[in-house]
Structures are given as structure tokens and as C-alpha cells.
Subunit: 172 residues, 2 copies
Amino acid sequence: MALYGERGFDNTTVAEIAERAGLTERTFFRHFADKREVLFDGAAELQELLVGRVADAPGSLAPIEAVAEALDAAGAQFQEHREFSRQRQAIIGASAELRERELIKLASLSAALADTLRRRGVSEPDASLTAEAGIAVFRIAFERWVDDANELALPDLMRDSLDHLRSVTGGV
Amino acid sequence: MALYGERGFDNTTVAEIAERAGLTERTFFRHFADKREVLFDGAAELQELLVGRVADAPGSLAPIEAVAEALDAAGAQFQEHREFSRQRQAIIGASAELRERELIKLASLSAALADTLRRRGVSEPDASLTAEAGIAVFRIAFERWVDDANELALPDLMRDSLDHLRSVTGGV
């Protein structure tokens, strides 16, 4: 990722990444489908964490609360790597191709959450809407967090963003 | 679009589309950046409609209500072309490439709505969260509408989905 930061994503080749990491190109492609995937290495792990937390949440929790607690856990993990997350987000923000890949990862995360909620007995459209709400909160909180003007910790920003979502959707 | 339905998106070439439409390939590429864009021809128009409605809504309306009224208007327009929308959605659903393009269009719609809300004086993160909520409602309502089991009209499904979003985010 340091290379992307130095030269920009478009100007970095797979050969250069592999060399910096001490890998052959062949080994690189055994791990990553393409050079975009390097930046989304943590997506599967994040999905596992969120889905696992929602699946294991006490049955008494409202679906949105189960999602909120999963976001707390994810937020706490990201919080330990703020500088890394900021650099990564700057690289993604600068490339249309990477922003697309990120949208796809978030959509798949939302689908996985909806699926987990349905398995907890949440019916449609509530399962999908709860998942979409959770991903919207995640995305906006994350954006606020990588923005340098903001000093709040990510789990706090997640809770605050959920409160704002409640207030904007509820307020007539 | 009929060609995509007959043969599948992947098996249809630009040459074939152009021929069916009575165009040269060159003219085709003057209108569309690539063959995916044919299916998203209406995206700019939809964005204009939603943004215009939100911009022109009475200042007394809560932001989410301004978005809900814009969705009513969009829903009423789509409602007149249900069969077309269903065919189109089936083609998009069958292709990962097209689902990606759709995500990009929805993200840009959300950004445009947030921008319009900020110009109405809505601060952040409320503007972005209201826009995300609106797009989530749009997406889920649309999915329910193209699903054959559902006989409700799209504007009703938009309102119903917003009510569900309110109830799932509010309920602790």
C-alpha cells in the first residue's frame, strides 16, 4: 500500500508491488485476483466480524441494536489503525476504479447482513432495510472518522451517526 | 435492450446492438461510453427529477419528507413502465458487471441528493444520512416492485419502505 501512496494507484504495477513484498507475480496472483484486491484484503474479515456478531447477538436485541453492536466491535478494531485507514481511504478516494470496488464490497456486506438477519427471523423488507441502514451508518461514520477535522473515536461516530439517522428519518 | 433479453448481456456485441437500432457502431459510441450504458440511459433523467424535486420542495418540509416526495414522483414515472423495468432488472441482476454499474449510479444519485440537501441548509452528517436513507428506500422498494409476487404500485412501496425504515431504526 505504501507504493500506491507514493506513486498513485494507476502508476503502480503488479510487478512493483510483488517486488516490494518479496513475492513473484505468480504468487501475487495466487493471493489477489488483481491489484485492486490488495486494498480490500480486510473486507472478508470485516464481513465475518459483522455477520458473526449479528448472528451471535442475544435474541432479545432489536435487529438494529444487533447491527449497532457489531458496528461497535468493527469500529473498535479500525480505531487501532487510524493512520493506515486514512492513507488507504485517500488512495481509494483518488481512483474511480477503487471507489467502484469499494461500493461492491459494501453492497456484498449489506447483502450478508440482511441474510444473517433473515436467519434470525427478521422478515423482509425489514432485514434488508436494517442492513442498508447499518451500512449507511458505517459508511458515513467512517468518512467522518478519516476526515482530519474529526477527533472522535470511530465507535462513538458510529453511535452518533445512527442517532442522526434515527432523527432524520423520524423527523417530520 | 430486447437483444440483451434474448441472448444475455455477455453474448451481445455493440455491432449487433447498433445494427438492431439502425445505427453505425461509431454513432453508438457517440451516444454511449460502452454497451453497459445503454441500460442506464435513464439514470441522468432520474437524477435530474429527484434533485429537482428536492431543490424545489417547500422549505417547511423536513428533509426526509422532501426526499420522500421526490421518490413519489419518480415512483409514479416508473410505474408506467413496469414491464420494461422488470426486463431491465432481470438483465442487470444476471450480470456482475451490470450490478456494479448500477451501484455506481445509485452512489452518484446519493451524492447528488446530499449535495442538494446541503444547499437547502441541511448540515452534515444529516444531509448524507438523509440521502442514503432515501436511496436505501428507493432500492428496496424497487426490488419489491419488480418482484412478481408484489402487486402494489411503486409509489406505495416507496412510502411503505420508508415506514419500515423508520420502524426498524427507531425500534430498540
